[in-house]
């Protein structure tokens, strides 16, 4: 193999590819805009709905209001509720979302409270779980009733001549000793490798299919095979370009993600934790990239080898579908809590890289695992690359009728 020829093939394919809008979009634009759109957009939207729901008074029904005149008065005075006249089909109305919730007081509710002793009087809250507005109405109801309950308890305690502290004999304090890096690492560390792996694969997908099956489809494969570059040089040039796009896509997605975290942290970290802040060392991020490198080689070589078997771009898409799945499932598995890196898992492609990245981003440096993951992934990558090179030597693959 001749480096000069590999470079010629590489440059040719690169020039060709940059004129293709689909590639440019998939490789550069999509990973760049996806994170801000997803995190900020969704956050905005949810906030909007929440605010709107909060502003409008929730429609509720009070059953047995005569048993609890004081609470009934407080509900009416709070301004948070619109109290509808009683109807027998209130449960149905909640289901139909015409009514948000209903409160039912047991007979003699406040009387029993004032008397004290005996069985505690009950009140029942009716609502519709998973319906945001219904749950919010119940939360407001609960808050109001909770305050009322506290007042009653305090009144009783005072009535017995006890100090207010009698209610809280022990004070619990929580103190977090984990560094901020550890906390965000464990939380974000699980998600970031997943994104990098998916984008690595996505970045490689289109060029891998276009440079092999697409070439067959356009009928340019024969002319390239008849030129003065060897098949080895041809496959290496193509493979290297696929690898480049894959890595560029991954880097861009990471940059975009970090930028989103930096400029809109609350939005990006939603669901991760409120007290979140970004604390990754550059070293950890670079190490993650070193780990991803052989994985990107594995993806690029596998996709090239498989798409070459297809006769058209469309056929290649159906062949690469299962590959996508095979990569995404272990990448997701690493997000699951409780899965920890061990020597056996360090041999499973994709999962191993994503697990070791999780560790790296949380600040630890498990050198033995790092070595094992790197070597095993490199080994798989070498095999895939070897298969890709062999595929280019096989007439029945190149000229499938």
């Amino acid at each position: 193999m001749n480096l000069k020829n590999i470079r010629v093939v590489y440059n040719k394919e690169r020039m060709d590819m940059l004129r293709d809008r689909r590639t440019v979009f998939n490789m550069l634009l999509f990973p760049l805009i996806m994170f801000p759109i997803i995190s900020i957009g969704f956050n905005r939207m949810e906030n909007m709905f929440r605010e709107k729901a909060k502003k409008e008074a929730a429609q509720i029904m009070v059953l047995g209001a005569a048993h609890a005149p004081e609470l009934d008065a407080r509900l009416r005075a709070s301004g948070k509720f619109e109290i509808l006249p009683l109807a027998a089909d209130f449960k149905q109305q909640i289901s139909d979302k015409k009514l948000r919730a209903a409160v039912e007081f047991s007979p003699g509710f406040e009387q029993a409270l004032r008397a004290g002793g005996g069985a505690a009087p009950t009140l029942t809250l009716y609502f519709y779980r998973t319906e945001l507005r219904s749950e919010m109405a119940v939360r407001s109801l609960d808050e109001l009733i909770g305050n009322y309950r506290t007042e009653i308890v305090q009144g009783r305690v005072a009535g017995h001549g006890l100090p207010a502290t009698a209610l809280t004999p022990v004070l619990t304090k929580e103190q977090n000793v984990a560094s901020a890096e550890k906390v965000s690492g464990v939380r974000m560390g699980a998600i970031i490798p997943y994104f990098i792996i998916i984008f690595c694969l996505m970045g490689a997908l289109h060029p891998a299919m276009d440079l092999t099956a697409g070439e067959k489809e356009r009928g340019t494969l024969e002319t390239i095979l008849a030129s003065a570059v060897s098949r080895g040089e041809l496959v290496m040039g193509k493979f290297l370009l696929v690898l480049t796009t894959s890595l560029i896509t991954a880097v861009i997605s990471l940059i975009s993600y970090s930028a989103t975290l930096k400029f809109a942290p609350s939005a990006a970290a939603r669901g991760v934790g409120k007290d979140f802040s970004v604390h990754f060392s550059l070293q950890a991020v670079l190490m993650v990239f070193v780990m991803v490198l052989p994985l990107a080689v594995l993806f690029a070589a596998t996709l090239v080898a498989i798409s070459l078997m297809a006769r058209s771009y469309k056929e290649a898409q159906s062949y690469t579908g299962p590959i996508m799945l095979a990569a995404i499932v272990p990448a997701i598995a690493s997000i699951l809590p409780g899965i920890e890196l061990n020597p056996a898992l360090a041999l499973i492609p994709v999962l191993n890289v994503s697990l070791v990245s999780k560790e790296l981003l949380s600040g630890s440096l498990p050198w033995a695992s790092i070595a094992l993951v790197f070597i095993s992934t490199s080994f798989y990558a070498a095999i895939a690359l070897g298969i890709a090179v062999l595929q280019f030597q096989r007439e029945e693959v190149l000229f499938r009728a």
């Binding site: 060709d16 009928g219 340019t220 095979l225 008849a226 030129s227 003065a228």
Partner: protein, 340 residues
């Protein structure tokens, strides 16, 4: 014996294994489980020599094995059996050095970049083939002169017409001035003017550089214009290899006139034509065909004859299709003596 041949092919064979598909839904399911393969002899023990400076036509019906032969001659495919020595190389073994001495054009494909200006492709090929800037400039000047490339050198390939693209492809294949040029259907799909351009150019480089040309074609006019020698292949077997003149004398005697008469009233008058031993075959509604032997009646005479009898709306004179010629070779017409 003259010089050693530039290209020497001995008992060349290529067998493919193709997968036999069963019919219907049940067949499709069985295909998944058990596959039956069938050996196809795309090229079967073909032997020929080509001398330096020759222009040889290689013809045959679709699927006869023309393209497979070209692919083996260019080193893309490895033969199942037999030998090729071309310009001192065994194509598939020393492919990289070898292809620097050949040019290849596949008529329905292009080696030019689809979305990029033509000149960029030339620059790339210059690098791949290590052509010096001086040689490159010199050759580009010749191509500009003969092929009139200048006007669209900066146009992306996708915007070129088929004829323009073929000219560019030819120039691309000859950029490194190879002594051998393989052309697979170079005039397919081109109009008459474009075909003529290509033929003139091929003549020019053949005379100027003594470039050896092997071209496959469907179009007998290509052969008549360019080649003195012709090889006919069908079902992988070489049926004829010899001078075009001889074949013409023996086999290419017939042409056909296809014509459309004005209306059914005119059609009714057709039998009058048949008196002179001409046979009229109906092709379509109001469309008829006469196959004639041009050694017996000239085209001009025949047309005069037809036009005197009936009113014709449209008319087309064609060579007999290659498929018909091949059929007649099989029928044993005068070939034995020719190929012997």
């Amino acid at each position: 014996m003259p010089d050693d041949p530039l290209i020497s092919v001995r008992d060349l064979s290529k067998h493919f294994r193709t997968f036999k598909r069963r019919e219907g839904v049940w067949g499709a399911i069985r295909n998944l489980v058990k596959r039956d393969y069938q050996a196809v002899h795309a090229v079967d023990r073909v032997t020929f020599d080509i001398q330096r400076g020759d222009m040889v036509g290689y013809i045959g019906p679709n699927g006869a094995g023309k393209s497979t032969t070209i692919k083996m001659l260019t080193g893309i495919l490895v033969p199942t059996g037999g030998e090729i020595h071309s310009n001192g190389f065994v194509p598939w073994e020393q492919r990289r050095q070898y292809v620097k001495t050949i040019g290849v054009v596949f008529g329905q494909r292009t080696q030019l970049w689809w979305d990029i200006a033509v000149v960029e492709s030339f620059k790339l090929l210059r690098k791949i083939y290590d052509v010096s800037q001086r040689d490159y400039d010199e050759r580009m000047e010749l191509f500009n002169h003969v092929l009139k490339l200048k006007d669209y050198l900066d146009t992306p390939v996708r915007k070129l017409s088929l004829g323009e693209r073929m000219r560019c492809d030819l120039a691309a294949a000859l950029l490194h001035n190879p002594p051998i040029l393989f052309l697979d259907e170079p005039t397919i799909g081109l109009d008459v003017v474009a075909k003529d351009h290509i033929r003139q150019f091929l003549k020019e480089i053949n005379q100027r550089y003594r470039t050896t040309v092997l071209l496959t074609t469907h179009d007998l006019d290509d052969i008549e214009e360019l080649c003195k020698r012709i090889m006919i292949i069908d079902h992988g077997r070489l049926l004829y290899d010899g001078p075009l003149a001889l074949l013409k004398q023996k086999l290419l005697r017939t042409k056909q006139v296809k014509f459309v008469v004005k209306d059914s009233e005119q059609a009714a008058r057709l039998p009058a034509l048949e008196s002179d031993g001409l046979k009229i075959e109906p092709v379509d509604h109001l469309t008829y065909r006469i196959v004639f032997d041009r050694t017996k009646i000239s085209v001009a005479d025949l047309l005069r004859h037809i036009l005197a009898e009936v009113e014709v709306r449209d008319l087309l004179i064609e060579d007999e299709p290659i498929e018909e010629i091949v059929k007649r070779i099989y029928a044993g017409e005068a070939l034995k003596e020719v190929s012997a």
